[in-house]
Symmetry: C2
Subunit: 392 residues, 2 copies
């Protein structure tokens, strides 16, 4: 006998999904209407305008893909690449590797520029790779590496791409809404994100945006896009600016209500204020973490305020601590991925979840759990260190 599912109420401080704002959950459950309903088309147009704000762009080709961030990544690669194209891919974590998979499955060639997990993309190595490969079509990298908590220097990398007459492709799944991101000012050609990170919306959609230069590449392809579902030349018949929208696929209507609401919430707060809030809560959290002798994997300069890779003493058992947090505090934090598995926790302070209550709760819960495993840590010290930052 299978019964209706009533999920436990969690505090989501892993790598995403993050806590969803109740306003967004309410919007999600509004009555479904048709994907060609005039009222819905109007909402789609508003969503594009709101996404342009979030991305800081005037790109016409700005829309949400009807599937999660990984499908957004695939949308970018399958639309921009043709067999034989050369792409320089920066890898310093899981998602650079996923980019490589995408490039190669398009029949294109990935030239990898690798940096150690936990460090930022080395701009000099990228420049050298661009020099060595003058026929490169695109430079691809991750803005906010969700697997390590590292930020890349998007502005410099995009300038390099322009200098060598390449398209720039940016993974902004974990950065959009959490840290500074300026698509037009930085000259980003193609970008994709997710809804379940710093937008604090439900997972399942992937906002994307393409510069006019990138849009031209898509329009002027020699071969068909290998994915029918993600072919932007077709998708634009539905999401484009024509008064009459033609059916391509059935849009995820209710999820789009939720995205619309999440973007309104971002606009109400103001993008810069959201960035400052993420920064402040990170600083308080970091003060607490360091006060109990834990440390960060990433150098302060390249740290993401919304995703903190925290390392712990060898004596601590990763899974025991995460289970205790989940079972005794209903608090989710993330495990390490890849080379960092079993060695770090990934603690998110994303979107709606980036707030003082969560910072203090997480520090207190984590310190108490560590203390119960025999480590000499003091929860009150951690909380006081965080409070000190807020009271400045």
């Amino acid at each position: 006998m299978i019964n209706s599912f009533h999920p436990p109420v969690r505090t989501l401080m892993g790598p995403g999904p993050s806590d969803v704002n109740p306003r967004i959950l309410e919007a999600l459950s509004r009555p479904t209407i048709g994907h060609l309903d005039p009222a819905f088309i109007e909402m789609m147009d508003e969503t594009k305008v709101l996404l342009q704000y979030a991305f800081q762009t005037s790109n016409k080709l700005t829309l949400p893909i009807s599937a999660p961030g990984s499908a957004g990544m695939e949308t970018v690669f399958v639309n921009l690449l043709e067999p034989g194209d050369k792409v320089i891919v920066c890898q310093n974590g899981v998602f650079g590797g996923r980019m490589q998979e995408n490039v190669e499955r398009c029949g294109a060639i990935a030239i990898m520029v690798e940096d150690e997990w936990g460090t930022t993309v080395d701009v000099n190595k990228v420049e050298q790779a661009l020099k060595d490969n003058p026929d490169t079509k695109a430079l691809a990298f991750v803005h906010a590496e969700t697997s390590t908590g590292v930020r890349s220097d998007v502005e410099t990398l995009c300038a390099l791409a322009r200098k060598f007459d390449c398209l720039s492709i940016v993974d902004a799944v974990t950065s959009l809404g959490g840290i500074e991101l300026r698509v037009d000012d930085w000259g980003i050609d193609a970008i994709y994100s997710g809804t379940q990170k710093c937008l604090s919306c439900v997972p399942g959609l992937s906002p994307v945006s393409f510069s006019e230069r990138a849009a031209e590449v898509i329009r002027d392809r020699n071969s068909k896009v290998q994915s029918w579902f993600l072919d932007l030349n077709l998708v634009m018949g539905y999401w484009g600016s024509e008064a009459k929208r033609s059916y391509h696929h059935t849009a995820p209507v209710n999820s789009l209500y939720a995205l619309h609401e999440s973007l309104i919430i971002l606009k109400e707060e103001g993008l810069e204020n959201a960035w400052l809030r993420h920064e402040l809560n990170y600083r308080a959290f970091a003060a607490g973490i360091e006060s109990i002798g834990l440390s960060f994997v990433v150098d302060a300069e390249y740290r993401l305020p919304q995703l903190n890779a925290v390392s712990f003493p060898d004596s601590v058992d990763d899974a025991t601590v995460r289970s205790a947090l989940l079972n005794n505090y209903s608090l989710e934090i993330g495990a390490g991925l890849g080379t960092l598995a079993g060695r770090v926790w990934r603690i998110g302070l994303m979107g709606y979840a980036s707030n003082k209550k969560n910072v203090l709760f997480c520090l207190s819960a984590l310190a108490n759990v560590l203390s119960s495993t025999g480590l000499q840590v003091d929860a009150s010290k951690a909380v006081a260190a965080a409070e000190a930052i807020y009271s400045v």
Copy 2:
């Protein structure tokens, strides 16, 4: 200034999305939890069991794809096909054409068997095509053609596929939950559906199922699946039966709550009862439609009870009538597609929307609108004809 979106409350009697059961909207808005949360994994396992019931299969490889029906279609083709493979595709409406697009974008060869829109797939022509092409890998066709309202003889077509040692690929987007469908008994090898038709769930997911024979083809591929996002060899690390699930992409958590609830509702009613309900409401609707002199495009034998292609006199302006229904009755019916555009309406009686109230409301509203355009039709006559069916 962009405000929160409050959709009008519609009655959805087009080709989908159909009216969503309020229980499902409520489930949708439950608190988001992590896609690797043990509670969520348990719900995923239940969802697979419920989908096996809906599909009438014991296929282990049964799961929902994290994107709409079109992505389900693409999942089937990209996983089963490799470049150079030959597929016989039956086309008697829009979706056979979409199958062809998918086949060709995999670098495979589509051999088209075409029938007129509004007629069923000609089994004899399919058999001839199979004889003429002994090296065919798969036979693909649509069970319930959403563009025309036609049913195919799945059982016979699948038996033919077996006879000629082919895989059978079935589009069940509009059939699942609405008409008889038996994956195991009929020997279907690969099938995909949608959530927003006869399951009356929100759009955005695509349930799929593969026979052991098809699963083997996927495991034994020579080349990588061209889509990373839809590669079932990877997706199964997350949706498979291993105790430890590994992250592939972030699942659309809340949409999956909704699917889970919609399948529970289907189970509560019983699959056969749901089929009977669709049949009864169709018969009442048809009696009403015919009583006012309108007719069906499709022969009675091949008609879908859940999707009715109704033709109308030349004097009637398609768009005027649909607009009047939307604006004065908040009732959505569908326009014709492709060769049937401007010549038919597609009136859905799907899932939760297949009920007596909707039948009577739609007949009455349609007759009144037609009457206001000068046609001699009598709403009370249509309603009485429908009522007569219910009172038998």
